[in-house]
């Protein structure tokens, strides 16, 4: 560790940190390589400024809503694949698994008289995702084939399944209103405001209950000012999103879906035994095993989550494009989510990463994609720039990792 200025208090001396102590600790963390969301937030601001200078349509309400809709599918898949990355594993099949999801929902809902009820179709498709993930997980854990190989095989095989399902149809146009509405319908302005306020209030409530229970147990707690700032920060961010989106078409429903999934999976990762075990397996598999954790079960569950989320992302992608074809699930659907998770700060070595990172990372990827598109650049240029950004993000991660090693935190 770096030099400690003052003698550290006994563990958990029931002191409430002062704001200055909190700020100092944060600064020490950043210097020693615990960057958190800092680089990505800075990155987003830089991206916004650069593109706004190049093209003043970037920061308009209309493009903002576009960004939400475009980010959503990749954010969903990225959140899923984070579970594999947290284990120190990888899932390369997410692209075509999402393709399978999109194609299945389109085929099951073709209004030819045999179509399933919408809800049933969703259940069938999500169950298919679950089955795919469990299959991957079983082969990886019980047979012992590395996840890279299993999911590489999956990449090929599920691509084949997409082609087989589409058959000679070439392109299937989505005609189900609910599925299309997912990415193309927008909330009423008033409803969006109510939701934003409710979310902020809920967050404030959770934070205060937590503070109270920690104080009651005599544990160190964050200063009230910091908690206030966090609540205000969330409220402000939601207010900006709602206000800007309402100037245009409104907040897309898919934005709510992504927000809900973010909260839900963050809860699972941080507040449940399963989430704790995911981090433990990623950090030290042998240690986790000796602590009595069923490592195989955790891994299978994670790969199941990856595939279910991929399928869900595929449905959203299909909804946005209003159709599926033989290319569904190819190209960006594989690499953008993994890149997004990594750009957000999730380590490929396992054990470090958050859901928030996946969302922020996806936002960065799509902002660049969108901004370069507005500037009228070709996809060639887009890929080169996006590749550069990915490399930059991983470089920042490697350097901060070195910082952690220097300060003994790696």
């Amino acid at each position: 560790m770096t030099v400690v200025a003052e003698p550290p208090p006994a563990p958990g001396a029931p002191a409430r940190d002062t704001v200055s102590a909190y700020a100092r600790r944060w600064l020490t963390d950043v210097r020693s390589g615990e960057l958190g969301s800092l680089p990505i937030v800075v990155g987003l601001v830089v991206i916004a400024i650069v593109f706004q200078i190049q093209n003043d349509r970037f920061l308009t309400a209309s493009n903002f809503v576009n960004l939400i809709v475009q980010t959503a599918p990749y954010a969903v898949i990225a959140m899923g694949v984070t579970f594999a990355l947290l284990l120190g594993e990888i899932d390369l099949s997410i692209g075509f698994v999402s393709g399978v999801g999109g194609v299945m929902i389109a085929l099951l809902l073709i209004p030819d008289g045999n179509e399933l009820p919408t809800a049933v179709a969703f259940v069938v498709v999500l169950a298919a995702g679950l089955g795919i993930g469990v299959l991957h997980g079983l082969i990886i854990t019980k047979v012992g084939v590395p996840s890279f190989v299993v999911t590489l095989a999956g990449l090929l095989a599920w691509n084949g399944v997409v082609l087989l399902l589409i058959g000679s149809r070439g392109t299937v146009i989505l005609q189900n209103d609910f599925v299309i509405g997912l990415a193309n319908d927008f909330m009423a302005p008033g409803l969006a405001w109510i939701l934003a306020i409710a979310c902020t209030a809920l967050y404030a409530g959770v934070q205060l209950v937590r503070l109270r229970s920690r104080q009651k147990a005599g544990l160190a707690s964050d200063p009230l000012v910091i908690i206030g700032l966090r609540i205000a920060g969330l409220g402000l961010a939601l207010a900006i999103v709602v206000a800007v989106a309402n100037q245009d078409r409104g907040v897309p429903y898919v934005g709510i879906l992504v927000g809900g999934l973010l909260v839900c999976w963050s809860y699972v990762l941080n507040r449940t035994r399963f989430g704790r075990h995911v981090y433990a397996v990623g950090g030290n598999q042998e240690g986790a095993r000796r602590a009595g954790i069923n490592v195989d079960q955790v891994k299978i569950a994670c790969f199941a989550i990856v595939s279910v989320m991929a399928v869900l992302g595929g449905i959203i992608l299909a909804s946005r494009l209003r159709s599926v074809d033989t290319n569904t699930g190819g190209g960006q659907a594989l690499l953008y989510p993994i890149a997004a998770a990594v750009i957000g700060g999730t380590s490929l070595f396992g054990g470090r990463g958050t859901m928030k990172a996946a969302l922020l990372g996806a936002l960065v990827m799509i902002s660049i994609d969108n901004g370069l598109g507005l500037m009228g650049l070709s996809s060639g240029t887009k890929f080169v720039v996006t590749g550069g950004v990915l490399l930059l993000a991983v470089t920042v991660d490697s350097i901060s990792r070195r910082g952690r090693e220097h300060s003994g935190r790696a």
Binding site: M1, V4, P8, P9, A10, P11, G12, S213, R214, K216, A217, G218, L219, A220, N270, R271, T272, R273, R276, H277, Y279, A280, G282, G283, N284, E286, G287, A288, R290, A291, G292, I293, G351, R352, R404, S407, G408, R409, A410
Partner: protein
């Protein structure tokens, strides 16, 4: 120190194929006693503790815990009896913080199956304070940032917080510097003072003589000597380790002198 042993082994043996790893070993440790287990490489120290911890079954012999005959079929059985092992590589997760590591695999949850962080943190602190571990600045820092001695302390605290009766430490000071070795030895002493039975495996006789109450010497899978620390010296122990009389050389009967 009480005289009824917590753990008693009578004539336990273990064979791996052609190798007789343990042969009719008698061993015991009592409440509040720090029993050092010493011996050269291959003497059977690790096999003995792995059998006690339930990783391997004994082939023969009797195991008595708290005076009753028990059969340990797996690590979970051992944990249920109150036997905890701190392995040499500690098995801590670097990316998790101190509290998370101490509760790993046994997390407390509240009614809604949500992790009960507050209770876990408070109890972890109590345990650490009870062991006078004062070198941690926060129980919410990740283990990656801890020194070797601090890690060992966390691993030991993790072992003792489950109402354990017997704590087995495998080479706890092997990779530590002078000051940190001192920290850990103090901790081992305190475990004994708190009434726990402790088995300490070590190559370092200096450490052994500092903290152990009794010393059991294994040689080639057999118990060749047992000493009270106050009644022996390092030379006697070294002699036992290198040339202790074996009751039986495989293939040949020989009376114990």
């Amino acid at each position: 120190m009480t005289d009824t042993p917590v753990l008693e082994l009578h004539g336990v043996s273990k064979r791996f194929g052609a190798v007789q790893a343990l042969f009719e070993v008698d061993f015991h440790v009592s409440n509040g006693e720090v029993m050092a287990l010493v011996g050269d490489n291959g003497a059977g120290k690790s096999t003995l503790i792995k059998c006690i911890a339930g990783i391997y079954p004994f082939d023969a012999g009797e195991v008595r815990f708290d005076g009753e005959t028990v059969h340990i079929h797996g690590p979970k059985d051992a944990a249920r009896l109150g036997i905890e092992v701190v392995y040499q590589d500690l098995a801590l997760c670097d990316n998790l913080d101190v509290v998370e590591n101490m509760y790993l695999g046994r997390e407390l949850v509240d009614g809604a199956r949500r992790l009960d962080e507050t209770t876990m943190e408070a109890r972890a602190q109590d345990t650490l304070r009870g062991l006078s571990v004062t070198t941690l600045s926060s129980v919410r820092q990740t283990v990656a940032g801890l020194s070797g001695g601090q890690r060992q302390s966390v691993a030991v605290a993790k072992a003792v917080m489950w109402n354990s009766k017997l704590v087995i430490l495998d080479e706890p000071t092997a990779a530590l510097g002078v000051a940190q070795t001192r920290q850990v030895l103090e901790l081992v002493k305190r475990l004994g003072e708190q009434g726990l039975a402790v088995i300490l495996i070590s190559h370092n006789l200096h450490d052994v003589f500092e903290v152990a109450d009794s010393i059991t010497v294994l040689r080639l899978g057999q118990n060749v000597a047992e000493f009270k620390r106050t009644e022996t010296n390092q030379q006697q122990v070294v002699e036992a380790i290198t040339a202790g009389k074996l009751s039986k050389v495989p293939g040949q009967q020989e009376a114990l002198a």
